[in-house]
């Protein structure tokens, strides 16, 4: 029997198999829902960005132009920064769920603002997201397990096993083809909704093809595992239990263990410590001699040494200088925090090699630009923008440039 004939025969068998057809429909339905809800979420995020950008601009113009000095203008002008979802984000929302992708920042110390996060309703966040990446990484293997585990055991218990094996030249290739046809059906049912979603969202063909390749490779991995365990001479229920055991090991135990190990290996400063350090520096400055603020400030900005604190109460220049010094004080902690996250993410990438579900999720998040690196890249863009703000205001605050409300036109724009 040729390969094609054998595959055809299996396909015919399988399509008459009611349980299998049900499974294909379940996969199709679940994948479609995952893709649809991903697209809806991305849509909502885009709308929210568009709405906020508009009202943010109006609010800023109004605030800035109604002030009469640089200090107050800087104090009351907020700037929206955001990280727009990529056109593949619908498939893997990843870090966008736990980390901020929008901030409204101003000229005050940045360390006090950049960790602000709006988790939405925590009750809803807890349930978690059923996005395509989650579906493929965790649910799809289970479905493959349900479909493939009794390939041989069911024939055995029906008493057809020996007959079936005797009817073909190579019985091993029989099981291989049977597994291949079944899992191919499942994988195709999963990839069709993804492709549709990609077309609707304008995902590049290359990204889509890479994602599909990952999904297929992942499906093949699980097909091999299932076929291997299914070939044991045990009853179907025991095979099923063992396969589910492997699934729990790879999807839960190894990832959770690795996470704890990584956190132990790479300690990072607690977020609260960064905030506290920065806050204390800013709050203490009110009572310290002005020079305690201005000396470190001039060390960073020698170009403004010409600025003279007049020594009479509150002065905006001094105020913003100690905001900056607050950031400077927390700088090393903040650097450690960032580097720690980079290192943790690198190790997570390594450990994920031992846990295919985590590996697949990470790959899809990487394609969708929703991984830790994208979060850090966005954070860097916010930092850069904040320093542009400082560059804009400092000539006014420290260099006696006269305030002009029309300068609202020259305010730096955040480029996403």
């Amino acid at each position: 029997m040729t390969l094609v004939n054998s595959l055809k025969r299996e396909a015919r068998f399988v399509l008459r198999h009611r349980a299998f057809v049900t499974w294909i429909l379940v996969v199709l339905g679940a994948a479609s829902f995952a893709v649809w809800s991903g697209i809806a979420e991305v849509e909502q995020q885009r709308e929210s960005i568009a709405f906020l950008s508009e009202s943010d601009r109006t609010d800023r113009t109004e605030q800035f132009t109604s002030q009469s000095d640089w200090g107050a203008a800087a104090y009351y002008s907020f700037h929206l920064t955001h990280d727009a979802p990529s056109n593949f984000a619908f498939a893997a929302l990843g870090q966008r769920d736990t980390s901020s992708w929008k901030h409204r920042i101003r000229m005050l110390a940045l360390e006090g603002q950049i960790y602000e996060h709006d988790p939405g309703n925590p009750e809803l966040a807890l349930v978690g997201r059923f996005d395509f990446a989650f579906f493929v990484a965790f649910v799809l293997p289970l479905i493959l397990i349900f479909i493939l585990h009794d390939m041989q055991a069911s024939e055995r218990s029906a008493g057809r096993f020996n007959l079936l094996v005797a009817s073909v030249a190579d019985d091993r290739s029989l099981w291989r083809h049977r597994a291949l046809v079944r899992s191919a059906g499942v994988l195709i049912a999963a990839i069709i909704p993804l492709t549709f979603g990609g077309i609707v969202s304008g995902t590049s063909a290359f990204t889509l093809a890479t994602a599909a390749a990952w999904v297929i490779a992942y499906g093949i991995f699980w097909t091999i595992v299932c076929s291997w365990v299914a070939s044991r001479d045990r009853n179907a229920q025991t095979i099923l239990a063992s396969l589910v055991g492997i699934w729990i090991l790879l999807s839960t135990i190894i990832p959770a263990g690795s996470r704890v190990l990584i956190e132990h290996l790479v300690p990072i400063p607690e977020g609260a410590d960064i905030l506290m350090t920065q806050r204390e520096a800013v709050n203490d400055a009110w009572d310290l001699p002005v020079s305690a603020t201005m000396t470190p400030f001039y060390a960073r900005h020698p170009e403004w040494t010409g600025y003279e604190y007049t020594g009479d109460g509150f002065e905006w220049g001094w105020y913003y200088a100690f905001q900056q010094v607050g950031d400077q004080t927390a700088e090393s902690l903040s650097d450690d925090y960032r580097e720690g996250r980079v290192e943790r993410d690198r190790l997570a990438g390594l450990f994920a090699l031992a846990a295919p579900p985590a590996l697949l999720e990470r790959q899809l998040q990487n394609l969708a630009a929703t991984d830790m690196q994208s979060v850090l890249a966005y954070e860097n863009r916010v930092r850069l923008f904040h320093s542009e703000l400082r560059n804009f205001y400092y000539p006014g605050l420290f260099g006696n440039q006269p305030f002009d409300p029309a300068r609202v036109e020259d305010l730096p724009e955040f480029i996403p």
Binding site: W23, S37, A40, D59, G94, E123, I253, A272, R279, D345
Partner: protein
Amino acid sequence: MTAVLSIAAAEWRYWRRSRLALVVVALFVLTLAFVSVLTNMRVAADAEARAHHQEESEETFLSQPDRHPHRMVHYGHYVFRTPTPLATFDPGLDSVTGQAMFLEGHRQNSATFSSSVSSADLGGLSWLTPAVIYQVFAPLLIVILGYGAIVREREARTLAPLLAQGTSAGALISGKLLALFSFALLLVVPLAVTALRSTSDGESASVAASLVALYLLYLCVWIGLTVLVSTVLQKRTTVLATLAACWLTVTLALPAIAVNATSRAEPLAGKIETELTMLNEVRDLGDGHDVDDSVYDALQASLLEEEGVERVEDLDVNIRGVLAGRSEAELTETLNEYAERRMQAESRQARVLNRIGWLTPTLALGAASRAIVGTDLEHYHRFLRQAEALRIEFVQGLNRVHAEELSYTADINRNRDEASSRRARVDASNWEVLETFEYEPAPASERLARASSSLQMLIAWLIALAASLSWAGMRLKP
């Protein structure tokens, strides 16, 4: 009755012989033990860090030197939430919401730094907690163990002789149910131990017992469903496919769909969005730092009139402190209005979500479990309210000190020179206005009452399943 018992015993023998029960129990116990250890470690580490920080933060505040009182308003204070004893079993919202909050004058901060932000990302299931193991994995194991219960006898053609020998269909089904129920009892043992231990950490016995009963009830729903499908459908593969699809839908898909539907039906404005309007409203209230702000003219005039003096310098109190207190009170009123509105919107969403519990027992159980343990949305709000109460108390305490202990003249001259700045300070003993923060969860009765609607859903499920089972029993044919 003996027939029921012997059928249950026979089922156990089958599990033992095929080593099925062994594999399943080993799997469950190992996963549960592993996840319990990890969750315990995390919660314990969090609790220690919190206790340590709480103490440190309070000490730092109290040990501040003599200062201008308003500096201390800005200096602020950190509060941390301590978990309830059973949070090691079900950390609930604790893992999503921040654990710490910075309290200061003039603003309400949000809780910051949940642990999920900085940890290594290894996929959606690396965050499992013991509670989720019971909610999601235990049903799967019951399905694996029980899907063959009746259909196996049918396929092996042992069903006909069994029924012919006088075993009633009811006894057969009851026997299988009993076998699975005894297995569920076994699964609940680790939870019972955890619950028992929590009572020695100060958890009430009624809470601990209800939690165990609740999870047992939930597992019974799954047992009923498993045996029902195994009775009604004719082929083993279809039984498994149906049950597995039910499991996927009920534990994973429906809760996610419910969240999606809820956020559409009851949309919640984002934080930045709300702050845009709030900040505008707050700006109109006037700035309590600025005595000359025209908003305060009336207050100033009435104070002067009350004491019958001409100039603010002659008042008994420091007008700057009075204004600071007044503006803080007004500001807090506005902030609380927004905070209340936000919390109510969140609770509304939670209620809509919980109503979908009628469709999926997993959602109902999750809500009840968090309510009983004390890690649900209401408890999170409770923390926010308690923290706010502490904030306004110490800020207004400091403003009173500002008004009564510091003379107006010394206050306005504070920036003249070093000596004047010293005169504009008050004694550090005044910092005692800060009370010790101890987060207090709701009393047991309140928590149990909140779980009651979810309990009704589970019971309704159980009744429906029992009715269907007795119907299926009557129609059972080989």
